[in-house]
Structure formats: C-alpha cells, structure tokens
Symmetry: C2
Subunit: 350 residues, 2 copies
C-alpha cells in the first residue's frame, strides 16, 4: 500500500496501550471492579439474550429514562455510547473543525488526543502541577482558537480531584464558544465533600458535558457502555453523527439494572474506601511516594523505571500499570482490588 | 447553543432512520434472522458473562483467528468492529482527506454517506440501473479525486448482485490509489454461482476491503459485531484509529461460536431460499413488481406511496420497510421471515 493514501493527520497516531490481561494473575492494571460485574446487570443480560437477533434501540431510551430519574434531568440531556470513548469520538466529530485547539492535561488518558487528531484539531498540552490537573494553567492556555477543553476528575492516572471552588472559579473565565468536557469516569468512588457539581452548569445551559461510564464502578468494562450528560442542544448533533446502533442491547439492559444494584454498589464503594486506607498505611510504612486518591486506583511515584518494575511484578503474579505510555516512565498506577489482592501487591513491594 | 459551534460539514447530516420494532408485531423490516440468535452464540455468551468486568481484547484476536481459519487468510487481514458500520467509520477516518471523492450508489444504506461527510469527503452519487448497482456508471464517475468506492453486493435494498465477471471487468479499470469497499452484509444468503470472489483481489494485495456482519445471517444484530477483510497493510491504520475497546467481550465470544454453528446456519439458509421462492410465486400471482433477490429480503416496487402502505401494514400487525428514507418513496423492502410470517404478509397484500 502506498503510504500517501493515508489521511494526513492520522499518520503520526500511535496505537493505544491497554493494561495487560493474563488469566490466573491478579489484575490491578485497568481499574476494573474486583467483585466482577453487577449481579443485577448479569440477570438483565440473561433475560435479554433471546432478543439478540434484533437491532438495539438506537437512542438507548430506557437507559436515558433511568439516568433522567437518577439525575433529575430530562432524558434529552443524556447520550449513550459504546464506552465513553465513543462519546468523545462523536463529540469531536460534531464540534472540532480543522485547526481548532483542544486543551488536554499532559500524562493522561490518550483517547482525548486521539479523537482531537482524527478530526484535525490541534492538541495543546498543559503540564500537571504536582501530578494534579492545573486549572489555572489550563485557563491561561485558552486562545481564540480553543474549541474543547478536556478535564479528568478524578484525574487518570493520578487520582487527584479539583474541587468545587476551583471549578467554579475556572468556569467564570470560560467563554461561551468553548466546550468543557469533564471526564468523570471515577466519580462514583469519590469520598471528598468538595467534588464539583458539574450538573449545575449543565442545568444553566452552559457548554459543559460530563462523561460517565459503567466500566469502573458498575463492573461492566467488557460490555462497553458509557454516557454523556449535557444541555440537550449541545448533545443533539451527537445523535446524528454517531453510528446508528452504537450501544448493544445487552449493554443497555445491563446498565439500567446496574444503576439500581444498591447492594453491589455499596459493597464496591466500601471495599474501595477500605483498600485505599490500607494502601496509604502500608505505603507510608514503606516510605513510598504516592498521591491520595479519589478514584479506584493509586498513583505511585516509584522514582525508578516502571516498565522493569511492572515486568517483575507480572513474574510474581500481579499485573499493575507502568505509566510509561502516559509519559511517566518512573511511575505506576495500581488499581484497588480485594483485600487479599491488595495484600499480595504490598507483600511483593516489600 | 450557538449553531456556529458545530463542525461545518456535519450541519446538513440527517439522522439515520431505522426499521421500527414494536413488540408483539411480526417484524420484516430490518433483515434480522427470524430464528433468533445462533444457539451456539448464546451458549458462548453465557460462559463469558462472569468476565464482564474485564475490558475486552482490543484486537478481537480469537475471532480474527477463527476468521483466518474460515477464509484461509492471515489473521492480520481481518479487523473487527462494533457492527460493520464501525469499520466504515474507521476506514473513512483513516483514508478520507478533505475534498476526496467517495462514490456511492444512490438509494442505498445511508452510513456510507454519513462517514464520508464526517471526514469531509465529497459523496458522489451514481444512479442505480433497473434497481441494481451500475458498475459501468460507477467506473465513469471516477476522477483524479476519487478515494473510496462503496459497493453493496448483494445490494441493499434491492437484493441484486453484480456478477464475478462484471466485478472482474470493473476491477481492471480501478487505479491503485482508489480503495474499493464491497459491503457483503448479505453474502451468506447468496445462491448464485456468479457471486464475485472479492478475496482474490485481497490476496493480490489490491486496495479492496470486504465488509461482513454477524447481524444478519448469524442472528446477532443486537450484540453488534462486524468485520472487514483486506490486505494487512491497508487495514493496519484502522487499528490505530479505532476506539481501543470497540468490540465488546460477549460479541467476540458469540461471533466465534456462531461461525461454527452449522446446524443453525443451514437452517437459516434453507428457510431463506424457500421463503424467497414462496414470495416469488405469490407476487407473480398478484402481478406485483419485485426484484429477484440474493439476500434475505425482497424489494417490491409498489408504485404507490410506501409510507402509507407501511402504516396500514403496521395496523394489521406486520412491520415492513418503506423505502422513503432510501429515496424510493414508492417502494418497500420485506425481510424473508418464517413461513407463517411470510404467509401473513402475503395474506395482507391481497
């Protein structure tokens, strides 16, 4: 094949580097729910399989109704995707013109950059400040060409949050022609009382979109479902641009059921809060440099080559995430697992 | 929201019009398998649900291995998508530069046009000839700007095919810098001995991609899985541009199992061949104008308003597809169902 056939702006795109899955090993690499999938979701899937020959509802209406009830917002303020990265992609397709600038924090989830490049946007990277999103520096990076700002809260891979007060100050300086996307993939794990209420801005009709997922807290990474919350006018174009049947039937049914799986969700939250404390206390004893987290993973600044460390851990039976592909070659990200899994990791650390 | 925020080239995109699903009614509108999903696929799904909290394999490797065995081509010659429309989208993202021309037959599946527009391509429409793809006219529409040609074989919504001989002649005139995409969504239903062997060109390394799906023959429309077959160099960029976890775990497992579900596939083929003959004979008696089909649906040229006809059919309990959204307001498409469903439709026609 002649290389010149390729679309110009995708030539330099690198493939996504996923967390490894090796069966039999303890996987603390992809922030998956260590309890497995929501049992109510599995029941719903079982009931739905006999309809698998029928195309899914292209608007995921039942799920949007359920989300509408949960968040007390009209169903039109929700869009569902084949994972929240599908929504990022469709959002970019709807709004990024050639040459538009897209502001992204450095050292984060690579799909923000991927979708910006695919649609000819110019990704503008802003350094983290002490491994946390730097809203001040992001504000300063705004130009007349800025179209979208991607924020991650809690931040991936460092687990930090920006607070409600910080976000309110930030929003005061955002012009109307900029879309602020807040990726809240880990929102359900947050314990801080200072977590921002992004929905407040959506209710005001500001150009703000929150992204959520069923992959983490709800234990449904394998079936692919995420959603966006935003003013209906801002989301409307996404329904035209998305592939018609982007969310499969089982994902739609599973998500509706998972939202309602209180027992499972409480158990997940409690396990995470306890696992976090356990890691803090053990890391403190070992004088390891880490960041306090509001998510279901902990960022550890190893200060030595993370790839080698990750390899040696795999040999010992635990998969964690080297952050080399995030541009942090001396750091790792460890998902909070079940107590025995956390203990195993700590024992290997020693 | 300010309309000017929108990406320029998506402003005129219209939303996809799907076939209706109304529970309790006979649905002959979306070319779904009337026997339901492949039983082997359902078994595989059941086994896989306990892993639903784990991200899927981002390259669908097991499925690509299975396809490699089925078609005797290297696994690198296959790419899997969240339905074959996902592959069209990623293909467009990889290859369409602004202003590139994309040749598409008129009155067909709307996603070819959608993905062309999303990536700033200029869709060039070529008329059908007696409701069949006109390869001669498509050849004549090629210019120095042509980048992709979308062909549908069997054609949707008319069920016609172009033959091996016709395709061979066509391919002789295709320059190397043009990608020919042959959407073979209905290939498994074909009875004609003259159906083209597109794989021949892929083995030669020509810029040709065949698209297949598990939505029709395999009864898996609801779980979303399709695949592309092409030279590995041509497909390689798609793996970088696609969303990392585009194909869910259950779809991957279901598809591998469905490929091997001989009994189900034989039953599906036989029912379709028989249903087709039944429709032909009844339509002949009623002197209805229809096209002979190589797919699992029949195109009927009603010669009166199809929307009204479709509405009256729904009232009587059968959903068929008015082709108004295909630009054929006086024609319908009827999926071949189970014998009793086909009979019901014919009785209503009378």
């Amino acid at each position: 094949m002649n290389e010149s056939l390729l679309r110009k702006n995708i030539r330099e795109i690198k493939a996504y580097v996923p967390g490894k899955t090796i069966s039999g090993l303890i996987k603390l690499a992809s922030n998956e729910n260590p309890f497995g999938p929501s049992p109510k979701a599995l029941e719903a899937i079982k009931k739905e399989t006999s309809n698998l020959h029928i195309y899914p509802d292209q608007s995921s209406n039942k799920l949007r109704e359920a989300l509408s009830n949960k968040f007390s917002l009209p169903a039109e303020c929700f869009v569902c995707g084949n994972g929240s990265d599908d929504i990022m992609q469709v959002l970019a397709a709807s709004y990024i013109n050639q040459g538009d600038e897209v502001i992204i924090s450095k050292n984060t989830f690579s799909v923000y950059e991927l979708v910006s490049k695919i649609y000819d946007g110019n990704a503008v990277f802003v350094d983290l400040k002490e491994f946390a999103v730097d809203l001040g520096a992001i504000s300063s990076a705004i130009t007349s060409k800025t179209k979208i700002i991607f924020l991650t809260n809690p931040n991936n891979p460092t687990g930090t949050i920006f607070t409600a007060g910080e976000f309110d100050s930030f929003m005061k300086n955002i012009p109307e022609n900029i879309i602020v996307v807040v990726d809240e993939a880990y929102a359900e794990f947050v314990e801080s009382k200072d977590y921002p209420d992004v929905l407040k801005y959506i209710k005001q009709g500001r150009n703000v979109i929150a992204l959520r997922t069923f992959s983490k807290f709800y234990g449904l990474a394998g079936i692919r479902i995420g959603y966006g919350i935003g003013p209906k006018e801002l989301l409307a174009p996404l329904f035209k641009v998305k592939m018609p049947f982007n969310v499969n039937r089982l994902a739609q049914a599973a998500a509706v059921a998972a939202l309602d799986d209180k027992k499972f969700l409480e158990k997940t939250f409690k396990n995470n809060a306890e696992g976090k404390k356990y890691f803090y206390s053990e890391f403190d004893k070992l004088e390891i440099d880490y960041k306090k987290t509001e998510a279901n993973f902990i960022f550890v600044n190893l200060k030595r080559p993370a790839e080698e460390f990750a390899k040696s851990m795999v040999e010992k039976g635990v998969i964690i995430r080297s952050l080399q592909s995030f541009g942090l070659p001396q750091a790792i990200r460890v998902s909070i697992g079940l107590p025995a899994q956390n203990k195993k990791f700590v024992s290997l650390l020693k």
